[in-house]
């Protein structure tokens, strides 16, 4: 396998925007936890707004980004999952059918986590989320409790993700390196991913930042 990888051409599998979003979210999840637990709520909010922007970017990028970043490319149906588990899938680049669902699950859990945070408030009404004004104090407190609980869903999915990376590493496939450099060997018979132009990433980033700022200001300009 190693010899085969060396012979295969190395191609850009994960485009730069996808990698940047991935690593920023990976850094901001522990930072969000830390800032909440150490009573740095202004930092916690800022971290949440940044993750919100990254998620919006990622969801749009899932439609217009590189072929390996598009949901259409990696959200697999039951037939593909069965083929993968049975070792009959053949050559592919990017997410395998299980990895695709794992990514989608993490994006969904993070969206829920950020969404709940927007409506949360602390018991002293000192640190409301930007949308807490739309709900009552009791509701905002209940949402804050759910926000605490759903963090465990995020933790569980991240743990599963790390276990999967370790599982593939033990079998000689180093996924982390590809997420750093973007490059991986192209298996024989697989098509090289189609990348998206840089201007498109810039445009999507501007849209995502604008939406995130609008939400962070309590749906006011």
């Amino acid at each position: 396998m190693a010899a085969e990888e060396r012979e295969s051409p190395r191609v850009m599998v994960w485009d730069a925007p996808t990698r940047l979003v991935h690593w920023l979210i990976a850094a901001l999840i522990p930072f969000s936890w830390w800032s909440a637990h150490n009573d740095h709520l202004p930092w916690h909010r800022l971290s949440g707004f940044t993750i919100l922007g990254l998620l919006i970017f990622r969801f749009i990028w899932g439609w217009v980004g590189a072929s390996t970043s598009r949901f259409r490319g990696f959200v697999a149906g039951p037939a593909r999952i069965r083929a993968y588990l049975g070792g009959r899938l053949g050559a592919y680049v990017g997410h395998n059918p299980l990895g695709g669902w794992s990514s989608l699950a993490m994006l969904a859990a993070l969206s829920l986590q950020v969404g709940l945070g927007l409506f949360s408030i602390d018991e002293d009404s000192l640190e409301p989320g930007p949308l807490a004004g739309l709900v009552s104090f009791d509701t905002a407190r209940a949402i804050a409790h759910i926000h605490h609980l759903t963090f465990w869903v995020v933790i569980a999915l991240v743990a599963l993700h790390l276990c999967a990376i370790a599982f593939y590493a033990a079998r000689g496939r180093h996924l982390t390196k590809a997420m750093v450099t973007g490059r991986a060997a192209l298996p024989p018979g697989a098509q090289a991913p189609k990348l998206a132009p840089a201007w498109r990433a810039g445009l999507v980033a501007a849209i995502a930042a604008a939406i995130a700022c609008f939400v962070a200001h309590g749906l006011k300009l």
Binding site: E123, D124, S125, L126, P128, H148
Partner: protein, 154 residues
């Protein structure tokens, strides 16, 4: 002149009274306290939204300030003896409230002072003073909760 024995008797009676003196069982007292605290939190939230908005609606601020002031004055009666975790009710009120009575009274006093001042500036319509006065109330809430309330379990 009061005899020491009489004072001791009065103290013992006060102590034994507790929840029973307020006419509520321990569990009822916990529920009543939670209702009062939620109302207080709702008032703080309403004021906070006005204050943060930049142009506070003084009618809202005045009404909530009066409620907060009344609640802060009544708050010492929300903690009768026997309304802690020993009541069997689910409560985050720590037993320390009833052992460190002096420290707890100081926190209540700090809130009462902050609430009175906030009510005063609110009723006077002193918009410049409303924001800092409100933050003193929120700080008083937080300071007491940090010592005498259990953290959220998660």
């Amino acid at each position: 002149m009061r005899s020491p024995r009489l004072s001791a008797c009065a103290a013992a009676l006060l102590f034994a009274g507790g929840a029973a003196a307020s006419g509520l069982t321990g569990v009822e007292a916990v529920k009543a306290r939670q209702t009062h605290m939620k109302a207080l939190g709702a008032s703080a939230k309403a004021v906070g939204e006005q204050v943060r908005g930049g142009s506070p609606d003084l009618t809202v601020v005045k009404a909530e300030a009066a409620k907060i002031d009344a609640a802060a004055k009544a708050l010492p009666s929300w903690f009768p003896t026997g309304s802690g975790p020993s009541s069997g009710a689910k409560t985050k009120a720590l037993p320390l409230i009833w052992t460190d009575t002096g420290g707890f009274a100081a926190k209540q006093h700090a809130l009462a002072v902050a609430a009175a001042k906030f009510d005063q500036v609110a009723q006077a319509g002193d918009t410049a003073a409303i924001n800092p006065a409100f933050h003193e109330i929120a700080a008083a809430c937080k300071s007491c909760h940090q010592t005498y309330k259990a953290k959220d379990e998660d």
